[in-house]
């Protein structure tokens, strides 16, 4: 039992190294894109040799998988924090959510690509890391419930709208605000179609 603190320190050290590797991986991706993410590049940044990474991740894909989980977990955390200061008014709330999303996605194109596109050839998220993505979607549903948006198509329309703004922003005006500044109009547009105060034009 006296050995317990030692074990703790060891596993803590292990997690620390894992974290360092993931940070290095993100740095490499932001510098060279997903095609530049190689074991050698990551290892060099950590100050290791490539094969040493296998002491912490079982393969290249395991690193990508951890990054995928991380990206969604951090997004989820950002929205968790947002819950504590969510405006009452639905339009203001949607505006806040949309702006935070665009900030996250347009502010970090490679991260956006990992979450919403398929930038790594053969990578499929593990059930474990996919959990965070599912949680995030469930949170969106609860959010819509709370502000009185009950239209069943609303979540899919919303994700399409935000994904489109982020995608266009990153592809055609990276770092700019050409699409980012359209967020308020997109929110108005969205609310006029599915909003709690408005009936949609053509019920189907």
């Amino acid at each position: 039992m006296l050995g317990a603190p030692n074990v703790d320190r060891q596993t803590r050290r292990r997690d620390e190294t894992r974290r360092e590797i993931l940070d290095a991986a993100w740095a490499v991706v932001r510098e060279s894109g997903w095609s530049g993410l190689t074991q050698r590049a990551v290892a060099e940044r950590v100050g290791m040799r490539a094969p040493s990474l296998y002491g912490h991740f079982s393969s290249q894909m395991a690193i990508v998988d951890a990054m995928f989980g991380q990206a969604w977990a951090e997004t989820d955390a950002a929205y968790d924090e947002l819950d504590t200061r969510m405006p009452e008014d639905p339009r203001e709330a949607l505006l806040l959510v949309a702006n935070v999303w665009l900030e996250l996605m347009a502010g970090d194109p490679e991260r956006n690509a990992l979450m919403n596109q398929r930038p790594v050839p053969g990578f499929t998220p593990s059930a474990d890391s996919y959990t965070y993505a599912v949680q995030s979607m469930e949170r969106l549903h609860r959010f819509f419930d709370r502000i009185g948006v009950t239209d069943p198509d609303a979540p899919d329309l919303w994700t399409a709208l935000l994904a489109g703004l982020a995608s266009q922003q990153n592809a055609n005006d990276p770092g700019g605000e050409r699409w980012r500044r359209l967020v308020p109009r997109a929110v108005d547009m969205f609310l006029s179609e599915v909003g709690p105060t408005t009936r949609r034009r053509k019920p189907r």
Copy 2:
């Protein structure tokens, strides 16, 4: 001068081979994604050896560039054909345009990726092949003029909306219609914000 027909036949044959190579490249991409597009794979499909491709394209990127130009040229051609049977009613016209776009983009995810994302590391379209993309955008502006949509933000909102629907469809429900079926609602939404008959809620 008697040699002229011979020259014509030769250049025609050359163009034919070029075409065969591009068709093979598309087939490879649709089967294995953009990361699977290699000279060996393309050559094998054409019935050549990899180095022989250099007789027709100066590099791998030259092939991708030709594909980029092709994709936009074909899109432009589709809309050219559409012009001859465009409905008078703005909503109907937008609906037609949106459905054709989604059909093109969701029906061919890899093509969509080339046109709207950056699936090939290091590739930047040449000025030449980019021309088709510009033409397509100019056509969109003329179209909006014609149906009375004068809002200066309209084109960017429109492209974001369509890009988002296509991107979500391809990433989360490939081959399905989960987002594709939302096109009519997206059009309604769009028109209620920028439409010729409606004033927008909050002018900025």
